[in-house]
């Protein structure tokens, strides 16, 4: 199997849509690829669409959580969208609650979340600048 899961760049975000059954090597490849791509494009957000994924095992679950942790260290926010009920139940039964990964019901909501959160970060920075200016002014 040489097939890889495509990673699409869209503005500051990377989009990944998993349309095939995940097997272990594929998951590891994805993890490696994604880290590379985040660094290359200095992406601010990653959206992983798993709505077509019907079967997960503990390895895939753990890899997802790894991907999220690695992305966080690289300063990108990760959101997993479109998880099927059966997949959610399986992950819970396996004891993997994917703590620290944001989730959304579909790509649309996931994208909105990314925009909101990434922009919020920028806004906070902008506000801080304003604060500093204001402080400088009052200081004068």
């Amino acid at each position: 199997m040489t097939a890889k899961i495509p990673i699409l760049k869209m503005g500051d975000y990377l989009l990944i849509s998993i349309q095939v059954d995940m097997h272990d090597q594929l998951a590891l490849d994805l993890q490696e690829d994604l880290t590379e791509q985040i660094v290359r494009h200095s992406a601010k957000g990653v959206l992983i669409d798993i709505s077509a994924l019907e079967i997960v095992d503990s390895f895939i679950g753990r890899t997802l959580s790894h991907i999220a942790s690695v992305a966080r260290i690289l300063d990108a926010k990760v959101i997993v969208v479109g998880m099927q009920p059966a997949v959610a139940i399986t992950l819970v039964e396996l004891g993997l609650s994917l703590d620290g990964i944001a989730t959304a019901l579909n790509v649309e909501k996931g994208m909105a979340w990314l925009q909101r959160n990434v922009n919020e970060g920028l806004r906070v920075e902008a506000e801080r600048d304003d604060d500093r200016d204001a402080a400088a002014e009052t200081g004068d």
């Binding site: 997993v80 969208v81 479109g82 998880m83 099927q84 009920p85 997949v87 959610a88 139940i89 992950l91 819970v92 039964e93 609650s97 994917l98 989730t103 959304a104 019901l105 579909n106 909501k109 996931g110």
Partner: protein
């Protein structure tokens, strides 16, 4: 040996036996509203025919393949009886009432009467038991079906607002039911693309560790799918129990009443309800 004699006896006196059998069944007081004369006659004739053939070909072992038609007939009859709400006695009476006319017949015949009677009794007792078994099986099936439909009925997932679902849980929760609730809720979340699900447990009398565990699992699963859960209607005793049991609810949001939970849900969705002031 006795079996062949019995088969011959039945074959020769079929008509007389049938008449007498029907008379006995009537005398046994089967409600004429439930079973009219024609169906009594039809059932009796069919069974007697099948019986004669089974005894002459398959002997007195009702496990023999030749007895299958008789069994099928009895099974069908028991099924119909249980569906129509016949009492079990009437169902059993149908088969057992053939004993009397048959015994009279045996008495009149010559030969080893006792042997014949014994063979006969054994056979009909077996048939009677088989009938009851079939009757019970049908009954149990009805009960099972009702249980299943109740399980489905008892777990409605309702939409309160665009993006807000509610599950009013009523009655005691067991693992089976919680499982059904969990699946129904998660599926509905996908179908309606709801962001918030309110689990209302006002109607739940007790919560034990298992139930709490299941609820937490449901909430985690919903969270994985991107929806948020709010638990509402926890009664004082249940709150005490949960704390006493040491169940960690973690960061699960709880509200006192469904109304509070709904309000919170609307706030999360950035919806504001404004009262319509008529005078203004």
């Amino acid at each position: 040996m006795t079996v062949t004699v019995l088969a011959e006896l039945l074959q020769q006196n079929e008509t007389a036996l049938l008449d007498r059998w029907i008379a006995v069944q009537r005398a046994a007081g089967i409600d004429p509203n439930r079973l009219d004369d024609r169906s009594i006659t039809d059932n009796a004739r069919d069974l007697l025919h099948a019986l004669v053939r089974a005894i002459s070909e398959g002997g007195d072992d009702i496990e023999h393949p030749q007895w299958r038609p008789v069994k099928q007939l009895l099974e069908r009859l028991s099924h119909v009886h249980s569906q129509q709400g016949f009492p079990p006695t009437e169902t059993a009476t149908f088969v057992l009432s053939l004993k009397e006319p048959l015994f009279r017949l045996i008495q009149k015949s010559d030969g080893n009467t006792i042997e014949l009677l014994w063979a006969c009794t054994r056979l009909f007792d077996q048939l009677g038991l088989f009938t009851m078994q079939a009757y019970m099986a049908s009954r149990e099936q009805v009960i099972r079906e009702q249980q299943e439909s109740m399980l489905e009925l008892s777990t409605p997932v309702v939409q309160l607002w665009k993006g807000v679902l509610a599950v009013p849980l009523i009655g005691s929760l067991d693992s089976n039911r919680t499982q059904v609730v969990m699946e129904a809720l998660l599926q509905k979340i996908v179908d309606t693309e709801s962001d918030i699900a309110i689990i209302d447990i006002t109607g739940v009398p007790t919560v034990d560790t298992m139930v709490a565990q299941h609820l937490l699992k449901t909430i985690t699963a919903a969270k994985l799918m991107g929806a948020k859960c709010i638990i509402s209607g926890i009664r004082p005793q249940i709150a005490a129990t949960i704390v006493h049991l040491g169940v960690e609810l973690g960061d699960v949001v709880t509200k006192a009443s469904l109304a509070d939970a709904f309000q919170l849900a609307l706030r999360e969705l950035n919806v504001r309800l404004v009262a319509n002031r008529l005078g203004a």
